[in-house]
């Protein structure tokens, strides 16, 4: 492995403006992240996937009225891959596998962005209240977090999505209910750690209000580990979401990778391998890309090395 610079110089020469220091820090951080080749591979994969997701309407003719619904060509069932019209073949209901892969990227992006945004927000709020207030509130909130963590996440999400009824929207909801706890726990630990710094006491002595201290001195300094977790979850959530839709909790015919794998599963005994293989590969690459980048970020931002600065 290439040696990653573990320590990022944080001392500013005298007279340098705060903005310059900030920009330089970000530049150093970026350099440290990019020094790791596996992170770079992950980043390239992410950029590729995001481009596919964003350019979906350009790459394919969107299906009307709902582009997230697979177009059906009833004259081309079980078409093997390689034809000029259907490059990756078709499903047993005449769905274009390539279309499903491209719009599936968009579906996955939507899923992961919504769930990560929701869980980071809720986790930050709950974790901050617990860590900042402490005492009884902290005790109660953390026991709730413990209870949520004591149910295995896939099974929990499966049960929630099941009682809400099968739909992709309910998968999103179920994942949000399951995944906020991790962020709450990380945030609480971070807040407690940051709260003990001298500069927080200094701000308090100088008469700043509790809110001001929280927003200016504590939250920005506590947020780093959440970025790592959120990056990892961008991949993990798509993995779990695709598993739920593979099991059958999304609408049939949705342009989503797990749904496609499930649709293709019926044909594998007849030798029709393509309808499951390609979409499943996409789930793998998506999760792998965010795992590589998340691991790389963790190496650079690791709180243990942070204290050594």
């Amino acid at each position: 492995m290439v040696d990653i610079p573990r320590r990022i110089p944080m001392t500013a020469p005298l007279g340098e403006s705060a903005w310059r220091v900030r920009i330089r820090r970000w530049r150093d951080l970026l350099a440290a992240v990019l020094a790791n080749p596996t992170t770079v591979i992950g980043l390239i994969l992410i950029v590729g996937m995001l481009s596919v997701a964003l350019l979906a309407p350009v790459l394919t003719e969107p299906n009307t009225p709902d582009p997230y619904q697979m177009p059906r060509d009833w004259a081309a069932l079980n078409e093997p891959p390689g034809s000029s019209e259907y490059l990756l073949g078709t499903t047993n209901t005449g769905g274009d596998v390539l279309y499903g892969i491209i719009w599936g990227a968009r579906t996955s992006l939507r899923l992961s962005l919504i769930v990560v945004a929701a869980t980071v927000t809720v986790g930050t709020i709950i974790g901050s209240i617990a860590g900042y207030r402490g005492g009884r509130v902290d005790e109660i909130l953390m026991r709730v977090v413990d209870v949520f963590l004591s149910i295995p996440e896939l099974i929990f999400a499966l049960a929630i999505a099941a009682v809400l009824g099968p739909s992709f929207r309910n998968i999103i909801l179920a994942l949000a209910v399951v995944f906020w706890v991790k962020y709450a726990r990380i945030m609480r630990a971070q807040i407690i750690h940051v709260k003990s710094n001298d500069y927080v006491d200094a701000a308090r002595v100088s008469g700043d209000s509790g809110w001001r201290i929280y927003l200016r001195d504590i939250l920005p300094n506590a947020f780093t580990p959440l970025i790592v977790q959120a990056t990892l979850d961008m991949g993990h959530i798509v993995l779990v979401g695709a598993t739920l839709s593979f099991i059958g909790l999304a609408e049939a015919g949705l342009a989503e990778w797990g749904v496609l794998v499930s649709e293709g599963q019926a044909g594998i005994s007849a030798g029709r391998w393509w309808a499951s293989t390609f979409p499943g590969l996409m789930v793998f690459v998506w999760a792998l890309a965010f795992n590589l980048v998340g691991d790389g970020l963790r190496d650079v931002l690791d709180p243990r090395t942070e204290t050594a600065r």
Binding site: M1, T38, R143, V144, D146, V147, F148, S150, I151, P152, E153, L154, I155, F156, L158, A159, I160, A161, A162, V163, L164, G165, P166, G235, L239, A242, T243, F246, I247, G248, L249, G258, V261, S262, G264, Q265, I268, S269, G271, W273, S276, T277, G280, L281, V283, F284, A287, L288, N291, L292, D295
Partner: protein, 337 residues
């Protein structure tokens, strides 16, 4: 003393977690409204519906309903499984046996493969086998189990025809008694080698699939702890006294490297529990996971509740054991707590 305090503290939280989990599970089934619908038919009039509601205590406030439900669970009444068309408790043991057999087989696969791969890679640090093992380990956390299972099926079932699907061959299943419900154990008990081979043959692919994630984690841990051990002085001493490298590895370094690895083996349990749902669907394995998947798709609430409750309790118990073992092995956990 401190370890005892630590364990006691963990045990004291346990009832809170169990009750909390049961409240969540109960609330889940009420999210979609009253479960009275299962018992209704079109011919019933309002009075009959009301009588039914009263009989199942569905006209009481929710907290009271919870107490009735929890009381039923404690008496061993888990309700009626619509999917299995039988009481949950009646179907449970056979499904549990099927799942346990698969989980234990997967754990064995994962431990053997994981330790072997980790040792192989750790002893060849920064050479090709090490890089390949790293790629394997990283891919473990990103691999959709449902896809991996289907790939295995395409290669080994459809194209090569080496492995079967399902849990056993019908004729072979019928020719021996099944006192335990674990087909491998049943075959050994009846001394039928053919049945044992059949049972193991059916286990191979699902166990490999389910063990994949755990193998990756164990290999990664084994590799890094072996690399650490190989830098210790006792290894130099063993080499200096002329011990062949193979024995240095086997008798000294690997033994010590296994200690931290043992603790992650417990943590991989979650993988087995969750992966079972997918692996059992794809390989048509008649266990708890597949039952749960059927229940989910058909809104069979009693089964869903029983399954979530059971897996959570198992998960809590295993995590407790792992934490205690870990606390014994690494005293810093207790001191730092």
């Amino acid at each position: 003393m401190q370890i005892r305090d630590y364990i006691l503290r963990r045990l004291m939280i346990l009832p809170v977690l169990v009750i909390g989990t049961s409240i969540i599970v109960f609330s889940l089934t009420r999210v979609g409204g009253s479960p009275i619908g299962i018992y209704l038919s079109h011919e019933m009039n309002a009075a009959e519906v009301a009588a039914l509601e009263q009989r199942f205590h569905l006209d009481d406030p929710l907290p009271v309903q919870y107490l009735y439900w929890a009381g039923g669970v404690l008496r061993g009444d888990l309700g009626w499984s619509g999917v299995a068309a039988a009481p949950v408790t009646q179907v449970f043991p056979a499904k549990l046996a099927a799942s346990m057999e698969l989980a234990v087989a997967s754990a064995i696969v994962a431990v053997i493969l994981g330790v072997a791969l980790g040792t192989y890679a750790g002893a060849r640090r920064n050479r090709l086998p090490d890089h390949l093992t790293r790629i394997f380990s990283i891919s473990g956390a990103s691999m959709p189990l449902f896809w991996f299972a289907i790939l295995l099926l395409i290669v080994f079932w459809v194209n090569l025809g080496w492995f079967p699907i399902g849990r056993s061959t019908a004729e072979i299943f019928a020719r021996i008694p099944h006192p335990t419900g674990l087909y491998t154990v049943d075959a050994i008990l009846s001394g039928d080698l053919g049945a044992l081979v059949d049972a193991v043959w059916h286990l191979a692919l699902p166990a490999l699939t389910l063990g994949y994630g755990a193998t990756a984690i164990i290999a990664r841990m084994m590799r890094s702890s072996l690399v650490e051990e190989l830098q210790e002085e006792y290894v130099d001493a063993a080499r200096a006294k002329g011990l062949p490298e193979r024995l240095v590895l086997r008798r000294h370094a690997r033994r010590n490297a296994l200690i931290p690895t043992v603790t992650v083996i417990g943590l991989t349990f979650g993988f087995l529990l969750q992966g079972a749902v997918v692996a059992e669907i794809i390989f048509r394995w008649p266990g708890l996971g597949r039952w749960m998947a059927d229940a989910v798709l058909r809104g069979d609430q009693a089964t869903i509740m029983a399954y979530v409750m059971f897996t959570s309790l198992l998960f809590l118990f295993v995590n407790l054991v792992v934490d205690v073992v870990y606390a014994y092995l690494d005293r810093r956990v207790v001191l730092g707590a």
